[in-house]
Subunit: 138 residues, 2 copies
């Protein structure tokens, strides 16, 4: 079971990685974590780095570096939170948004391939089971 999950996720990562390389253009310069983080920021504008940390379950140091890289690439920008200046609110730039759409397209395609032959009911069941598992680990 654990093995199965591992190899499935590895296969998905690998697919996405190759799709991003072959897709060429700007997406090729993004690493997987960077692409995923960009996606989170695009979906949750004005969120802080800490929220990204909590949502992804990754180390905050790692996230700090990923965010730094995305900023250097000009894909996101930071806004100071006037209320609490420790917080850094993140949002995508137009360039980041465009790139995010490209990534999203590839991600959707990879997901669609993995879920080929699933009807809505099965998809919902899969998501529910996975979410219960994730919930069990918190």
């Amino acid at each position: 079971m654990l093995e199965l999950l591992h190899s499935l996720v590895h296969a998905l990562k690998s697919r996405m990685h190759h799709a991003m390389q072959e897709g060429g253009g700007d997406v090729a310069g993004l690493a997987g974590m960077e692409a995923r983080s960009l996606g989170f920021i695009a979906r949750h504008p004005e969120s802080t780095q800490g929220e990204l940390v909590r949502h992804s379950g990754r180390d905050k140091g790692q996230i700090a570096r990923v965010v730094k890289r995305l900023r250097e690439l000009g894909l996101i920008e930071q806004v100071e939170d006037p209320v609490d200046r420790r917080n850094v609110r993140l949002r995508v730039t137009p360039a980041g948004d465009a790139l995010h759409r490209d990534v999203h397209r590839l991600r959707k395609r990879a997901g669609a391939q993995a879920l080929a032959g699933f009807d809505a009911e099965e998809l919902a069941a899969a998501v529910a089971l996975l979410e219960r598992m994730k919930g069990n680990l918190e």
Copy 2:
């Protein structure tokens, strides 16, 4: 969905990693991939490195290094295949078998926590769905 899978697997990895560190003793010296590969060899004695590569989906170079490390740790040993001398058949040593049992215990515990509240039917459904997804990617 992809995000969900990623974070679930990440959480599982993290659990296993900590369990192996805290468990102390010899398991603490094993990295995750090493532990998983040891498990495969224990479950499939006399298999070749190539079979491990195909089963895990990992790069053969990576597997070669993992196998090398396991050999240096005295956990597995190689037997020359008399028929095809390119093949190297792998099997666990007594020490490797003992360690494998420890790892298996920890893995089982981590899996049990993730699957808490699942009845046999749900478990089977989850495995079936995941296997279909994995199959779709080949």
